[in-house]
């Protein structure tokens, strides 16, 4: 019984980092219908930037994190402005290839600058300090990730629903020409979207970095986050988060009781099954194409 609860708790913990990545991807998809494969590497660049500030320039913790978020936002704006906007007649595949190209460039730059060895990130919370409650343990870092994921999800949800900016984002997604006619600066909105998404990704990266820090660390969380976002529905913020937690828990339960090796495989199999029944994901509205 303890084991079962432990697995569920660990599933929550691991689901949080997927949730953050999923959130970041959904934000971009909601506004511009681009599945952003470069999400992981944007987070990676921000994390390495943070490490550089902390170790080479010896800047204290809070200012360094603040500067990292600023950097992440700037990176997001820059990428949108310089690359995504220039794409003419974007169709889904073209955008996928562009974001994959961006991903390669970013990972190449980070690897080039920092080398490929494992590094360590001076984070205030050690990755393995944990709370042990009645034999069930959860690490402090996981709690922090959980809290951040939920806070960010809540914040973004209310932001997109009730604030003017959020409304403008929705309008841009639904019909960008009409939005422009009504006076919404769609270019600014897009840049803002990318900036927000990049900051969320940076948060994910920073929370993953104490455990593992090398140029390839974001590849797996990004894939799982993307899978979670798809399962939850690419246009639903809470959906991505809930699906991410489900994914984490199912993975852990399967790994614990049946087979560790096939853990990830099962995760994807479940997603395919879910998609067979709900083609647009669990929580999104299924837009039926009108002829």
């Amino acid at each position: 019984m303890v084991d079962l609860i432990q697995m569920i708790v660990s599933g929550f913990a691991v689901g949080s980092s997927y949730a953050l990545m999923g959130l970041a991807m959904v934000i971009i998809y909601k506004t511009s219908e681009v599945p952003n494969f470069a999400q992981g590497e944007m987070a990676l660049a921000a994390s390495f930037f943070a490490m550089m500030l902390l170790t080479s320039f010896n800047i204290p913790l809070l200012p360094a994190f603040f500067m990292t978020f600023v950097f992440a936002a700037a990176l997001g704006c820059f990428l949108e402005f310089a690359v995504l906007r220039r794409a003419k007649n974007p169709n889904v595949l073209g955008m996928i290839v562009i974001t994959i190209g961006l991903e390669m460039v970013l990972v190449g730059l980070v690897s080039w600058k920092f080398g490929a060895e494992q590094k360590s990130m001076p984070f205030p919370i050690g990755p393995y300090d944990s709370f042990i409650i009645k034999g069930i343990f959860i690490s402090k870092l996981d709690v922090l990730t959980l809290v951040s994921a939920l806070l960010l999800m809540g914040g973004l949800y209310f932001f997109s629903r009730y604030s003017r900016l959020g409304l403008a984002m929705k309008a841009t997604q639904q019909n960008s020409v009409a939005a422009r006619i009504v006076g919404i600066r769609t270019h600014g909105i897009m840049m803002m979207t990318w900036a927000i998404s990049s900051v969320v990704g940076a948060a994910a990266g920073l929370l993953i970095s104490p455990v593992i820090m090398n140029p390839y660390m974001m590849w797996d969380p990004m894939l799982k986050g993307f899978a979670a976002a798809v399962m939850g529905g690419m246009t639903s913020l809470p959906g991505a988060v809930i699906a991410a937690y489900m994914l984490g828990i199912i993975e852990n339960l399967f790994g614990g009781y049946i087979s560790i090796e096939f853990k990830s495989v099962v995760a994807f199999a479940i997603i395919v099954l879910v998609l067979c029944f709900k083609p647009s994901g669990l929580f999104a509205k299924h837009y039926v194409k009108k002829v």
Partner: protein
Amino acid sequence: MDMKRDYYEDVRLILSPVAGLWFAGLLSFLYLFPLFVDNYYIYVANYIAINVIVAAGLNLLVGYTGQISLGHAGFFAIGAYGTVTLMAKAGFPFLVALPGAALVAAGFGFLLGLPALRLEGPYLSIATLGFGLTITQVIGRIEFFGGREGLHAPDIVMGPWIIDTDKEFYFLLITLTIFLLLFMRNLIKTRVGRAFIAIRDADIAARTMGINIVAYKTLAFAVSAFYAGIGGGLYAFVLKFIEPEIFSLMMSIMFLAMVVVGGLGSMMGAITGATLLCWLDLKLRNILDIPYVGDWLEHLSRSWFSITGVSNIQFIVFGSIMILIMLFEPLGLYGVWLRTKRYWRTWPF
């Protein structure tokens, strides 16, 4: 562009005597060049030819039928493992093992096509991605397929011939490639091909016109999986050694990139995309040898970056090429070709 006046002109392969001459020239070039160049270039040509086959198959699915697949490395793996095990463990000759394995891959393609009937866009990409990952995991687990240690490919014996050098393999490969590409081209010109295009452009309208979406979508998946399977089977002999790690997500992404960069919905596009990206892939590691640029990069590396990571320039160049082609010519390399053609045709306007 070139106006076709009737159906038979549309499907004709060789349009005019001059075109026939060019075609003959191309064929003779393809068959004669291995006699003049280093073995290394023949290896590169083999590698490119295999990717051309897979790209053509993927183009059928992505370009002509409008689906997305991030899992083609899975079909590639099935083809490779299938051929090697059928030859090594079950003793079938090469000419039976290869189509056999490809048919198995086509079967899996059909299975993958079933959920694809309801999915589109990123949802379909995740489903196919999951499939690709699953296949490699499952193969890696089964000891019969060599598990994680991989398998060595035996020599190909076809009647009196034993094929064990790159050159001999090249002749076999290029013949197969030409045959497969011609078949693909013809397929596209028939009603099956037109059904695919209809599905891509307006699938609801296609359905109302009586095109059986279920049959054609799954057929598209199956045929493209068949091509990937053949490519995989041949790849096992080019590399002479296969193991599950080779068939990674990166490989699927490369295939997709080849098709998109080359130009969706155009077979010439798929061929050029595959050629360009493979060649870059193999050659970019020598980027530091370029006379001036290489030294400048090393100098830059020492002062601002880490010298140890200098080979990552390959990724940067690769990614930049992908981005630039997509930004400036959404139709890919084929679009570049069309533009140059139009420019020269309508010069001086």
